[in-house]
Amino acid sequence: MRLSIALDYTLPEGGMAPYFDALRAGVALASRCKGCGRISFPPRLVCAECGAEAHDWARLSGRARVVLRTDALAAAFALARFEGADGTTTVALGNPEARGETGQLMAPNGPRPGLWLRLNERETDHA
């Protein structure tokens, strides 16, 4: 038998809505834990370090440094350390032809609210 199913989802973003709204505008919005002060990007609504459920929102500069990078068939991805955040973040690279190690969060390519980093061309543009 043959069967084709198209699924058209509308996903409410709930407690993460402020992060997604900011991301769509190219702004990095992190959570700052009210218990231990840890800054998580993407945000965590329950702190993985101390378990606190209360947080503030913290706007980051969006500048980041690539820690690890992999070049895939038609895309490139990285773990990047965003200025002001504790830990790293998985990003897609918006301009994989650039070899710089620093970059800036960009508004998503297309309708998916993904984390995209535009790399700087020159290494003098330090994050």
Binding site: L3, I5, L11, E13, M16, S40, P42, A48, L68, R69, T70, D71, A72, L73, A75, F77, A78, L79, G87, T88, T89, T90, V91, A92, P108, R112, P113, G114, L115, W116
Partner: protein, 390 residues
């Protein structure tokens, strides 16, 4: 002395793993694996009083509530039926749930059936798109990142911390395919050499096509019971002696070291403690080699070598080594029908301990064997230890 939790693998079987283009369906594989496991255990259908189904995704089976459907398909009625899921760990999560039912007296003879139609009936791109939702779908997933790229970054972190190279990864990729050549059920019994790995398409650096496990179709089934509830009181059957399970941060980027499978270490420690043994007593392992480098990361986390890269180079994990690993071929060689994977590992370990494994055997019949799986990228880890025949 090993702990005695009083449970045996009464019987087990798997179908051929591979890209099934022979017109057979997952319902056929389920019936085939279940019937073969029953025969292996010397039991009848009416002896089974619980069924646990391991299947990762309804997107693949296109069957919601698959446990009900499969119980019906197998002719099992009026018994306890459930489904267990933990991504790539689903099979072992189901085995551990089955063991808990037996231990708690809620069932006497549990059939654990793992399956996945993950290769032949959807396009590879569609399956890859589904698998890319195996991480945090809202953050990692929305970048469009695929499993290979996530595993690649973890492997890069591992290479940075150790002196592992792509040659070490290629040795694993080759050995598991060569091991699979002895396994009549294997998906990729390939006669390849390291040069073939190096010449295969780069998927996400450092991983090339031959460093990646395939998408496979197939099913596997085991029957768990206390020996007293079996014909001949389960004589000659491998024992289930230790189980552990632990989870990690779902986002790889949040982990202190993205190259370390920390939750797997915890799951293994639990399993060793439960079994009352040390890692040095493990004489055979089936580990979750979704990617070649992940096999080394897993062996490290399982504590099966002090310096995993040096041990790999010394041949410790070869069929003739002290910890023969993935003699079935693992996911790389035997294949990876997700829900079936962990169940098939239990079958392989049990049959090796019983000295009747159909494929490549170790130099000596092992006394303890370890089966290791995970979902995500070592996010949900489940480790099971089996003991030899007493």
């Amino acid at each position: 002395m090993a702990n005695e939790i009083g449970m045996v693998v009464a019987g087990g079987a798997l179908t051929r793993f591979g890209r099934r283009k022979d017109g057979s369906s997952f319902r056929d594989w389920a019936r085939q694996a279940f019937a073969a496991a029953l025969r292996d255990a010397g039991l009848q259908r009416r002896d089974i009083d619980a069924l646990i189904v391991a299947s990762e995704s309804d997107f693949l089976t296109l069957q919601l509530n698959p446990a009900s459907l499969l119980a019906d398909e197998l002719g099992l009625f009026g018994i306890r039926v459930m489904r267990a899921e933990g991504g790539g760990a689903s099979g072992q999560v189901a085995v551990q749930a089955g063991a808990a039912l037996v231990s708690s007296g809620q069932a006497r003879r549990v059939a654990v059936l793992g399956l996945e139609p993950a290769a032949a009936h959807l396009s590879g791109a569609d399956v890859a798109a589904l698998y890319s939702l195996s991480f945090d779908a809202w953050t990692d997933g929305m970048t469009g990142i695929d499993s290979t790229s996530i595993y690649a970054m973890s492997a890069l972190a591992f290479m940075r911390r150790t002196d592992a190279t792509v040659s070490d990864f290629a040795r694993v990729a080759v050995r598991n395919r060569q091991n699979a050549r002895h396994n009549p059920n294997a998906h990729l019994p390939l006669d390849i050499a390291p040069e073939d790995v190096a010449a295969s398409t780069m998927i996400a650096a450092p991983y090339r096509r031959l460093d990646c496990s395939p998408l496979s179709d197939g099913a596997a089934c085991v029957i768990l019971s206390q020996p007293g509830n079996l014909p001949g009181t389960g004589k000659g059957r491998a024992r289930l002696v230790g189980m552990g399970s632990a989870n990690d941060r779902v986002r790889l980027a949040e982990r202190a070291d993205p190259g370390t499978f920390a939750a797997k270490r915890l799951a293994a420690q639990q399993a060793y403690s439960h079994a009352g043994i040390t890692p040095a007593q493990i004489e055979l392992a089936e580990v979750y080699d979704s990617y070649s480098g992940a096999q080394l990361q897993a062996l490290e986390a399982l504590g099966l070598a002090d310096d995993v890269v040096a041990a790999e180079r010394r041949g410790v994990f070869d069929a003739t080594g002290t910890v023969p690993t993935n003699l079935s071929g693992g996911l790389l060689g035997q294949g990876a029908p997700v829900g079936a994977t962990g169940v098939a590992q239990i079958v392989s370990c049990a049959h090796q301990l019983e000295g009747r494994y159909a494929g490549l055997g170790p130099r000596i019949t092992p006394r303890f064997a370890l089966a290791d799986t995970h979902g995500g990228i070592a996010t949900l880890c489940a480790v099971t230890i089996l003991g030899g025949v007493e």
